[in-house]
């Protein structure tokens, strides 16, 4: 009796895990540039800074940089807005927007900062 109950729980847990793997693509919103090309609506592309150089327009209204996605593809991202803090130090960058004619126009940039719970130098 006890054994059969345990078996039931194991089966159910396995079923849940299986379902999660089936729907795993819907668990994360982030796509690669290749997928972004065929997308109709705005997508979230995640990647890292390909080169440490970030060009900024004189009036600080837009920035341009190269983003390398997970597949290793590098695409120029144009973001109309002020440069987010910690963009250069980010361990991950998510650009939200549309892919158009070889460039990625971002309306939003999300920045993942390295989490160090250490006091900053200028206490």
């Amino acid at each position: 009796m006890k054994k059969s109950r345990m078996l039931c729980l194991v089966v159910v847990a396995g079923f849940i895990a299986y379902n999660i793997f089936i729907y795993q693509s819907s668990l994360t919103p982030y796509v690669t540039f290749a997928q972004a090309r065929s997308a109709k609506s705005a997508v979230q592309v995640k990647g890292t800074l390909a080169t440490p150089i970030i060009a900024q327009t004189e009036d600080r209204q837009a920035i341009v940089f190269a983003l390398r996605d997970e597949a290793g593809e590098e695409v120029t991202v144009i973001y109309r807005g002020a440069k987010p803090d910690g963009l250069e130090q980010a361990t991950g960058i998510v650009a939200v927007g549309k892919y158009t004619s070889g460039q990625f126009l971002a309306d939003k940039l999300l920045v993942k900062c390295p989490s160090k719970y250490q006091g900053s130098v200028n206490k």
Partner: protein
């Protein structure tokens, strides 16, 4: 022990923790003063998982013994879990807005906590759909056990499998706690305070009920 005395002790403790969070914790590299939010966000998230665990364990106890008091503990704990889950989600969304630049972008962590929220919302709906006490207790207990099976996947496994903007959990895979001692102590104190508060809320919620035989739960 008198519940009022315990409540006062917890209140003083939490006030002390708040003082420490605002005065002893230094601003950190990268987050600056925003780090103070973590001392609310982490404890409530931890308590919501704990509450769902308590709910599942007492549900198992009910199925073994068929004593309704376990059903009450299980139900109260699930409700509190839902409340703390909501607090964690809202504080997390505010945190996300300040650090990533968006309240909600369906990050894996945000997706899974949302699923968890729906799961336990369904638990409450299920309870309110059954009139008869014994039957309700049995059905709800089975559901609480099954619902908790998903918690490890939703809270611990999936967010670590995918890229997430969420920072590495404090207890990361390496098993190394990368935190300044003062912050670690304040965090542990906040966790203790929040857990004690949960215990207090749970016991007063259960004590509010009376057993048909006339024997109260309150000792």
């Amino acid at each position: 022990m008198n519940r009022k005395v315990i409540a006062v002790v917890i209140a003083i403790w939490i006030a002390g923790v708040m003082y420490a969070v605002f005065n002893l914790v230094p601003p950190v590299e990268g987050l600056g003063n925003l780090v103070r939010l973590a001392f609310f966000h982490i404890p409530v998230a931890w308590v919501s998982v704990l509450a769902f665990l308590v709910s599942a364990v007492t549900a198992g106890q009910y199925l073994r013994t068929r004593q309704l008091k376990y059903d009450w503990v299980s139900a109260s704990s699930a409700k509190l879990g839902l409340l703390f889950c909501l607090l964690a989600t809202v504080s997390g969304a505010v945190f996300a807005k300040l650090t990533w630049g968006a309240y909600w972008n369906w990050d894996p962590r945000q997706t899974t906590i949302f699923i968890l929220f729906l799961l336990y919302g369904a638990y409450l709906a299920l309870r309110s759909a059954i009139e008869e006490e014994e039957r309700r207790a049995a059905v709800a207990a089975v559901y609480a056990l099954l619902a908790f099976l998903t918690v490890p996947f939703l809270v611990f496994i999936i967010p670590r499998m995918y890229f997430s903007l969420h920072p590495e959990p404090v207890l990361n895979s390496v098993g190394k706690i990368d935190m300044e001692p003062v912050m670690l102590y304040v965090l542990l104190a906040a966790l203790a305070g929040c857990t004690a508060l949960f215990g207090l809320l749970l016991s007063s919620s259960v004590a509010g009920k009376t057993i048909p035989s006339g024997k109260g739960m309150d000792e």
